[in-house]
């Protein structure tokens, strides 16, 4: 019984997010006719594909107790650089995509290396990275560059029918985002690498003492996030079919907000990639509801996302402080520790008998 309650507490932030999403969707469903079509739900994925991809990368960074403020700028840089390479140099689109992904990975890796080897706060290094990437966009081009490449165009127009629904479809970018989500979930929860990230986020010192390659993993997490942002940038440029340095402004904030709303602790070591999906969906849904409403202006989205982030952070800090108190109590009294270890034993017996 007690164990069951414990599991509940572990999943609580995630469940809360899913609940918020369900309630908001129900409200929209009852209020607006347009939202009753299944396509409205799939549009959430289509419109927020790039945000989902970059938020998954951000989840890994935050799980490792870091932060990356450069993602929006990297998305913009990817869009501009790929547009310039495609249109001004006539490069092969496949080659461009590969180059962009490499660039993103390298960019993230360099930031990670500076963070790890020079022991500078991630926040300030990625801030400088953000400045750098945004500025580079305008060195490439001051104006927006339209993309006329046939491959990009076909990718933008591809519609993938969803079996079971008559007129519902997903765009290619949404499918890419879902694939990234599944891979991200697998990596985070079922691989050694994922566990190491959790361990480092939980306590870097003990991860190091456990013999985990902390440096390599930390650098690779930023490289991974760079890769995700570059991929998000490609998806972004496919959906807009152009590249400009002022695209994706404030996306880093949206991504962080989505991760937090998804139940990942900003102090690292706790959270689920799956939660991030719902964080993104809630953000997207708020935007959609405001669009459907038509009277409220778009800046309400920012206020609502900010308020929601605050609520989730507040709940988080409540949880952490309570856990800390419990830990302190546990350290203080040996009996408590014994009681704690006794619980799983009991549980094993019950599950065994069942």
């Amino acid at each position: 019984m007690t164990n069951k309650l414990k599991i509940d507490r572990k999943f609580m932030p995630l469940l809360a997010t899913v609940g918020v999403f369900a309630l908001l969707y129900l409200y929209g469903f009852l209020q607006y006719k347009g939202m009753r079509q299944p396509q409205a739900f799939f549009n959430l994925f289509i419109n927020n594909a790039f945000l989902l991809i970059t938020s998954i990368g951000m989840t890994f960074v935050i799980l490792s107790e870091g932060i990356d403020l450069s993602v929006g700028a990297v998305i913009a840089l990817t869009s501009v650089a790929s547009a310039a390479l495609l249109e001004n140099y006539g490069m092969n689109p496949v080659l461009v995509i590969v180059l962009m992904l490499l660039m993103g990975t390298l960019f993230g890796g360099i930031m990670g290396a500076i963070i790890h080897f020079f022991k500078v706060q991630p926040f300030i290094v990625t801030l400088a990275g953000m400045f750098f990437a945004r500025g580079m966009c305008f060195f490439i081009s001051l104006d927006a560059i339209p993309i006329k490449d046939p491959l990009y165009r076909t990718m933008a127009l591809t519609r993938i029918q969803i079996p079971g629904f008559e007129r519902a479809f997903l765009s290619l970018s949404a499918v890419i985002a879902i694939v990234v989500l599944i891979v991200g979930m697998y990596v985070a929860h079922f691989t050694r690498y994922g566990r190491s990230i959790y361990a480092i986020g939980g306590n870097e010192q003990s991860a190091l003492l456990m013999g985990l390659p902390v440096g390599r993993i930390k650098v690779s997490v930023y490289a991974l996030n760079g890769f995700c942002s570059a991929l998000a940038g490609i998806v972004f440029s496919i959906s807009l079919l152009s590249g400009h340095g002022l695209y994706a402004v404030n996306v880093e904030l949206d991504a962080i907000a989505s991760v937090v709303i998804g139940g990942t602790l900003l102090t690292g070591g706790q959270g689920y990639v799956f939660g991030t999906l719902f964080g993104v969906l809630v953000t997207g849904l708020i935007q959609m509801l405001i669009q459907f409403n038509g009277e409220l202006s778009s800046w309400w989205t920012r206020i609502a996302v900010g308020a929601l982030t605050l609520i989730f952070i507040g709940v988080q800090s409540l949880f952490t402080s309570r856990r800390k108190k419990r830990q302190a109590l546990g350290r203080a009294s040996l009996i408590d520790v014994e009681a704690k270890t006794a619980v799983p034993m009991e549980d094993k017996l019950t599950t065994g008998s069942a």
Binding site: F117, F118, K119, L127, F139, L253, W299, L310, I313
Partner: protein, 355 residues
């Protein structure tokens, strides 16, 4: 010999040394590469030129850096200053503009040289709202026990929305001449914002260094727990510091909106929080808190502003300039890092061992 070396060390260890060196390097660069950089002429009864321009535009950054220094010295950070600048600018201009942004009125009435609210009231209201924003941040950090970066991120995200709400999503233009004096006026031939910035700096310096407050701030930055145990009211000091930072951002918002004679909720103070943090970091105050120097931060602000102005002067597009700024910042941070010194000594030792 030993005497001179001692003073050299003293000079190098002073927090003012590096920002002053950076400023000197930039000014030296301009001496060779930017023609006319040092020309100061008298136009319409006041001085004008690149140097004056740096002082004029740099005063907003100096104000923000002053507030930010105190916040960073407690080991925190305030990411919301840019948004607070926008909120303060929006409040002041909305109160001046007779339309209050709610109703459509004829353009002749709109561009009249009048204000719908007395000027002192506009200024007070803007400063009050900005201070409240700071208070909110302070409450979240000190009472809510939320990481400063995250707590202020909330206002950074929502703040521009609030500013939009105040202006009803419009760019509010003002035509009230007395208001322009705040951002465009000249006193003794020098830009008026500079005087505001210096005044605020002096008050802050008195507050921090002529009372025990500065010491409390530093002690919290070094170790909040032990400060608390030694009887320092850690919570209230944090609250005061964030509130003050909001207040500074409020003044900056007034200067900004008066300078460009309008308030654009989306773009007012965009990326200013980054510039302010960079100014403080350049001034040698560690992001982890502790020892701080207000003067060094103010010089850091001047360094950032001169870098920006220099880049504009040599023809780098405004937006592209941020790439160079990012690199400069990274180099500065690496220079300050203890780890760099360690790595460098190790490399030097290794090379020495090989040869």
């Amino acid at each position: 010999m030993t005497r001179s070396r001692f003073s050299w060390h003293q000079l190098r260890d002073s927090q003012l040394f590096w920002p002053l060196l950076a400023l000197a390097l930039i000014l030296l660069f301009n001496l060779f590469f930017t023609p006319g950089f040092y020309n100061v002429e008298i136009k319409d009864g006041h001085l004008s030129g690149f140097l004056i321009d740096i002082l004029n535009r740099g005063s907003i950054l100096m104000l923000l850096a002053t507030g930010m220094t105190m916040v960073i010295a407690t080991g925190g950070v305030d990411l919301s200053v840019g948004a607070v600048v926008a909120i303060s600018a929006a409040t002041a201009t909305v109160l001046i503009n007779p339309a209050l942004a709610t109703e459509l009125i004829s353009s002749e009435e709109l561009i009249k040289d009048v204000t719908s609210t007395p000027l002192w009231m506009c200024i007070t209201a803007a400063l009050l709202i900005a201070t409240l924003c700071g208070l909110w941040n302070g409450l979240l950090v000190s009472r809510g026990k939320i990481q400063p970066m995250v707590a202020t991120l909330v206002l950074m995200v929502a703040g521009r929305g609030i500013a939009q709400l105040i202006t009803h999503g419009q760019i509010i233009t003002v035509y009230y001449t007395p208001y322009f004096f705040i951002g465009n006026g000249y006193l003794l031939g020098l830009p008026f914002p500079l005087f505001i910035a210096i005044f605020v700096y002096l008050c802050t310096w008195l507050w921090a260094r002529r009372t025990a407050f500065g010491m409390f701030v530093e002690s919290i930055g070094i170790n909040a727990q032990s400060s608390f145990l030694s009887g320092i009211n850690e919570k209230n000091i944090k609250l005061a510091v964030y509130t003050f930072c909001g207040f500074c951002a409020g003044i900056a918002g007034l200067i900004y909106s008066s300078n460009v004679k309008s308030a654009d909720a989306n773009n007012a103070g965009l990326n200013l929080e980054l510039d302010a943090i960079l100014a403080v970091v350049m001034g040698g105050t560690l992001m982890s808190g502790g020892r701080f120097s207000l003067l060094a931060s103010v010089i850091g602000a001047l360094v950032i502003q001169s870098t920006t102005t220099t880049m504009y002067a040599i023809g780098v597009p405004a937006m592209a300039a941020s790439a160079i700024k990012g690199l400069v910042v990274l180099v500065v941070i690496l220079l300050y890092s203890e780890q760099t010194k360690l790595v460098l000594t190790r490399v030097v030792e290794r090379v020495g061992a090989r040869s």
